[in-house]
């Protein structure tokens, strides 16, 4: 058997985000087990462990699950990720943090056991700006862009990138931190009402998203000028604001909705068979899709590892190699029943971060659906790459890490 623990959170302030993600993650492996008999003939076990988005419980879960030869960890929490980075590196297992975690971990020379492809916080910021550039005919000079962010290490991630980009493109950046949990944002939105920024970018999580969108609607901020990162673009973020949320945009790392062939199998082997995780009411939602996407990539990495190692019962070290040699192509996604679901990418020893592309989706309040309104947008790697280098080098220096891949 292969063991991929699911460090999830179904309680606490961030449970509404954690639940669908965990469901999607779990269901995808269930699908593989039920339909294909696992991966390479090995059943995948997904022991779930509740972290409550709490770093200590995260450590406990890690220790509790790692013993059974756990192959990859995906804790869906930046705080837990930071703690696990040294631990997995020392224990030789793998941390997979798509779209979250430590951005500079995409530098494989320094972070041997951490992977965060296909996109991360910094590329997200850059994609958003590139999208706005495209919208504005390639020119953001003199524009004012506000960043509303969760005042935690997660929310602060894009600041450096956006500052660099504002220098490059000549827009003005207004920073508006929101304190956890973000129930009360009056002053931030009054400020937005006053400053009338041309666009608002949001890095939020948990209840902060819903309140921000509600407040934006309250001050009648034009929703189509309001873009959230992919963590601020779930159904439960927009639903509470009702019609007011119509037109709200968010980044998307992957597709959403039930229009993928995989759902036919999902229905047949998982939900109809009564094997669905959780209450089963999250299927097809944004965060469910993301959990499924993460599971899919991990599954593919396991498959790659099996191919390289020539054995089905792979070890954590072999799985790490699988991650490092993973290639996801359009065709492969098609085969998996997820055509055009995510971006194609190929990992290398140096590059654990992927191309960092994203699409834009927009909320339709009457139909209550997200619609993809753009193709894959490239981030501005010229700006991001030096930042990644700088941060990872600092880490390497502080911890006496030797560079790999030479």
């Amino acid at each position: 058997d292969l063991v991929v623990p699911n460090l999830s959170y179904r309680t606490g302030p961030y449970a509404p985000g954690g639940v669908p993600y965990a469901d999607g993650f779990q269901d995808y492996f269930t699908l593989l087990n039920e339909r294909d008999g696992g991966i390479g003939g090995e059943i995948v076990q997904v022991p779930e462990c509740e972290t409550a988005y709490n770093t200590e419980k995260g450590v406990e879960c890690y220790e509790a699950t790692k013993g059974n030869n756990a192959l990859a960890f995906n804790p869906l929490s930046t705080g837990i990720t930071y703690q696990l980075i040294p631990k997995v590196t020392s224990d030789g297992s793998t941390l997979y943090t798509p779209g979250y975690g430590r951005t500079s971990a995409s530098n494989g020379k320094v972070f041997s056991n951490v992977f965060n492809y296909p996109a991360n916080y910094w590329t997200a910021a850059s994609v958003a700006i590139n999208y706005l550039l495209a919208e504005n005919g390639g020119d953001l000079k003199g524009k004012k862009i506000a960043l509303v962010y969760h005042n935690s290490s997660y929310g602060k991630e894009p600041i450096r990138t956006l500052e660099e980009l504002s220098k490059k493109h000549g827009f003005e950046l207004v920073q508006l931190p929101v304190e956890h949990p973000g129930q009360e944002q009056k002053s931030q939105w009054l400020q937005i009402r006053r400053e009338k920024p041309d666009n608002v970018i949001m890095y939020g999580w948990g209840v902060m998203n819903a309140v921000a969108i509600q407040e934006a609607a309250n001050i009648r901020y034009p929703m189509d000028q309001f873009i959230g990162i992919w963590w601020s673009g779930a159904d439960h973020d927009v639903l509470p604001a009702g019609d007011g949320a119509d037109g709200y945009k968010s980044l998307a790392m992957h597709g959403t909705g039930m229009d993928y062939p995989v759902y036919a199998d999902m229905k047949k082997y998982v939900s109809d068979a009564g094997k669905g995780a959780g209450a089963g009411d999250q299927v097809g939602g944004v965060l469910y899709s993301r959990g499924m996407y993460a599971a899919m990539i991990i599954a593919e990495a396991l498959r790659t590892a099996q191919e390289i190692a020539g054995t089905s019962q792979v070890t954590p070290a072999q799985v790490r190699d699988g991650f490092e040699n993973l290639e996801i192509t359009e065709e492969r996604m098609e085969e998996l029943g997820l055509p055009d679901f995510g971006q194609a990418f190929k990992a290398t020893c140096e590059d654990h971060g992927g191309p960092g592309k994203a699409r834009i989706q927009q909320w339709d309040a009457t139909a209550k659906t997200w619609t993809l309104i753009s193709g894959w947008i490239e981030p501005d790697m010229d700006v991001i790459q030096p930042l990644i280098l700088e941060d990872s080098e600092a880490y390497a220096a502080e911890n006496n890490i030797e560079h790999r891949c030479n």
Partner: protein, 329 residues
């Protein structure tokens, strides 16, 4: 530029006052229970969450414990298939809160008569843990939309009127206006109750000395059920207001933290104090964030509220309207 800044500051201030009222709604519940029993009720926030969850659950006809039932029996139950009118659901929820008050009295408070305040405080923490888990088991932990038909969004009337007067349209959220009206009504009613009825007097007597209250024949059990019911109702009101704003989910229970400085500033025992404290805190933190926040990096509201309360307390250690702490030997 100058008058614009002035108007904007005024707008921030007015909105601060409004936000303060939202805090006061939560603080009121604390005050009631403190007044009646000297208990600092840590569970007040969770109570609001629980009330809101129950309200939504009843309104949408959710099947209680469906989550557990489904897990055990492999069924797929979710809804009864009805939706109740808001007013009925609110009334039913209020009843549930009364039931809960009875249960709390019966299983917790009754056994802790005459204990030190910190012990009672701890018991309410236990209660908070329990209710948090129970609410989730009962109604599930997903985010829920609460809609009892309260208006939301900018009030156009005020915006237009102020625009005509000052050339600057003020932003005031309609929900905040409703909250202010409800809060005013609650405060008047509760003040009358505690000041002019014999139960009000009994309530204050209980807070001073449990045993002496017992000795004159005040039934602690009745008083506690009464006051926890009222506090439950206040929690429901707070839950409705905050839930309408942000949906009903766990974070709702964290609003208690916003109510703490309000409570301390106003005084633990004063109902009007909860409102005045709320106004001061709301206005103070918003203005500070507006004027000083940008210079020091923002997100100052949480700590500034406490620092503001602290400043007041240094001058009046019992809070603005709290009862004087009697120091004698």
């Amino acid at each position: 530029m100058m008058p614009d800044t002035f108007f904007f500051a005024a707008e921030v201030m007015v909105n601060g006052l409004m936000a303060g009222i939202m805090y006061s709604l939560v603080a009121l519940g604390f005050v009631l229970i403190f007044k009646a029993s000297g208990i600092f009720n840590y569970a007040q926030g969770v109570l609001a969450l629980f009330a809101a969850l129950t309200l939504v659950g009843l309104q949408d006809g959710q099947i209680p414990f469906s989550h557990v039932i489904n897990a055990i029996f492999g069924t797929d139950l979710h809804h009864f298939g009805w939706t109740l009118p808001a007013i009925v659901a609110i009334a039913l929820t209020a009843l549930v809160m009364v039931g809960m008050a009875i249960v709390i009295e019966r299983y917790i408070l009754k056994h802790l008569v005459n204990q030190e305040p910190i012990i009672l405080f701890m018991a309410t923490i236990g209660l908070a843990y329990f209710l948090e888990g129970f609410g989730d088991v009962l109604w599930g932990s997903d985010i829920k939309k609460l809609d009892v038909g309260l208006p939301q969004g900018v009030s156009e009337t005020i915006e237009n009127v102020t625009y005509n007067w000052f050339g600057y349209g003020f932003f005031i959220d309609k929900l905040d206006i409703v909250a202010a009206l409800v809060a005013a009504a609650l405060v008047i009613a509760l003040t009358l109750f505690s000041q002019y009825t014999k139960y009000g007097r009994a309530l204050r007597a209980v807070a001073d000395d449990h045993q002496a209250a017992l000795s004159v024949g005040i039934s602690l059990r009745f008083i506690w059920v009464l006051v926890w019911s009222i506090a439950g109702f206040v929690a429901l009101v707070a839950g409705i207001m905050w839930g309408s704003k942000s949906g009903v989910q766990f974070s709702l229970s964290l609003i208690a933290l916003k109510a703490l400085p309000v409570l301390m500033l106003g005084g633990f025992t004063s109902i009007p104090g909860a409102i005045v404290g709320g106004l001061i805190i709301g206005m103070g933190e918003k203005l500070f964030e507006f004027a000083i926040g940008p210079m020091i990096g923002g997100a100052t509201e949480n700590w500034f509220a406490y620092v503001l309360a602290l400043l007041f307390l240094v001058f009046r250690p019992q809070g603005l309207f709290g009862e004087k702490i009697i120091e004698r030997v």
